[in-house]
């Protein structure tokens, strides 16, 4: 009787630990082949047949289709350069230059990967429509209230994430540092 009880406890622990770990890794991802540049991370291998099992599980769970390697690379950021979670109430600046690519797009998503509703129907910028300074760099302001220049509305969301997609780019599995791929800086300028 006692043995059966012990076996039951063992199996319960196994289920909780196993499925818990799977849920954690499928939602948060595992750093296999991750490129981290500043606040941005990318997993170029998710766009190939060499995708690791953890990324495969996370793709299946979220229901997205990863950008193929012959198409482009996806960088995402949920925190600013100092490690603070991006907050829709705050005034956040994305400033700098992007790696070499024929086109890029910068998009704002909520935590579930849905676009953020706003009256302007402005969900992001493409490399062609952004307003740049004379040195070719740009600055995007991400706030809940309207701004002059490149403004991305947050709709007052608590948490959001930024996704920078580079299309037709040499950036990929071999990229390691800021030198190969200069990513724009993300800073929280002020919070109410």
């Amino acid at each position: 009787m006692r043995l059966i009880f012990l076996i039951l406890v063992t199996l319960m622990i196994a289920t909780a630990v196993g499925l818990g770990a799977t849920w954690m890794t499928a939602t948060r991802g595992v750093n296999v082949g991750t490129i981290t540049i500043g606040a941005w991370t990318a997993r170029p291998k998710t766009g190939t047949s060499d995708i690791d099992p953890y990324s495969r599980a996370s793709v299946a769970r979220s229901g997205e289709l990863p950008v193929g390697t012959g198409d482009g690379v996806t960088f995402s950021a949920a925190k600013d350069d100092s490690g603070k979670l991006l907050n829709g109430q705050c005034d956040v600046a994305v400033k700098g230059v992007t790696p070499a690519a024929r086109f890029w797009t910068l998009t704002i998503y909520d935590n579930k990967g849905q676009l953020v509703a706003n009256s302007l129907q402005r969900y992001g910028f493409t490399s062609q429509e952004i307003v740049r300074g004379s040195d070719g760099s740009f600055e995007v302001r991400i706030t809940s209230r309207a701004r002059a220049g490149n403004w991305l509305p947050t709709g007052g969301l608590d948490r959001y994430m930024l996704v920078l997609r580079l299309y037709d780019t040499p950036v990929g599995v071999a990229t390691r540092t800021q030198k190969d791929a200069p990513m724009p800086a993300i800073t929280t300028v002020s919070c109410p």
Binding site: I13, A16, E64, L65, G68, F103, Q114, G124
Partner: protein, 187 residues
């Protein structure tokens, strides 16, 4: 006491096994993966335009709103597939996904190097069955092997500004995909 210790250690070890197995099984049993989401929206072996991505209306999460997209959901069991995508003004790409949403091939307008991206998609068995002389001309005929018999082809055209979305959609509307007639395959 020692028995309880054994139970806990055994549970954690067994939990590791459960974790590995469930990670590997999850893509096969997921019911809300991209293929399952798109299956009711799309026609088989034909190009279906996807509705523009908007808040709450996007068929999949993490879609790029700057792109017009269309999907050809394929089943190669009846024969190889022929795909033709005219290139749009800004940027056009074609990505291939297996039934389990793995991107196994992607090509863009520049690497295709023509005004129309033209591809033949087949299973490796069908590729092996091609007559010898067909392979000689394979250089100007792009043949792609699909690892699975079913899957998705996603066509994307960039609208560099919101005003160009109509144009991007129109260029994708001219794209075709379909099973090759048996005659053409045998020729």
């Amino acid at each position: 006491m020692i028995r309880w210790l054994f139970a806990i250690i055994g549970g954690v070890l067994l939990g590791g096994v459960v974790h590995l197995v469930s990670v590997l099984v999850l893509p096969r049993v997921a019911t809300l993966d991209a293929y399952s989401r798109l299956a009711p929206l799309t026609k088989l072996n034909a190009v279906t335009p996807l509705p523009a991505a908007g808040p709450g209306s996007a068929p999949m999460p993490y879609m790029d709103p700057a792109f017009a997209s269309a999907v050809c959901r394929y089943d190669l069991s009846k024969g190889p597939l022929k795909l033709k995508v005219p290139v749009s003004q800004a940027y056009t790409s074609v990505s291939f996904y297996t039934r389990n949403d793995t991107a196994y091939y992607a090509i863009n307008d520049r690497s295709a190097g023509r005004r129309v991206i033209e591809l033949d998609l087949m299973t490796s068995d069908q590729h092996a069955d091609l007559p010898e002389e067909e392979d000689v001309t394979a250089a100007d005929r792009l043949i792609i092997d699909s690892p699975t018999a079913t899957g998705l082809i996603v066509l994307k055209a960039l609208a560099a500004e919101p005003g160009l979305m109509r144009q991007a959609e129109a260029s994708l509307a001219a794209a075709t995909c379909g099973i090759q007639p048996a005659q053409a395959a045998a020729r």
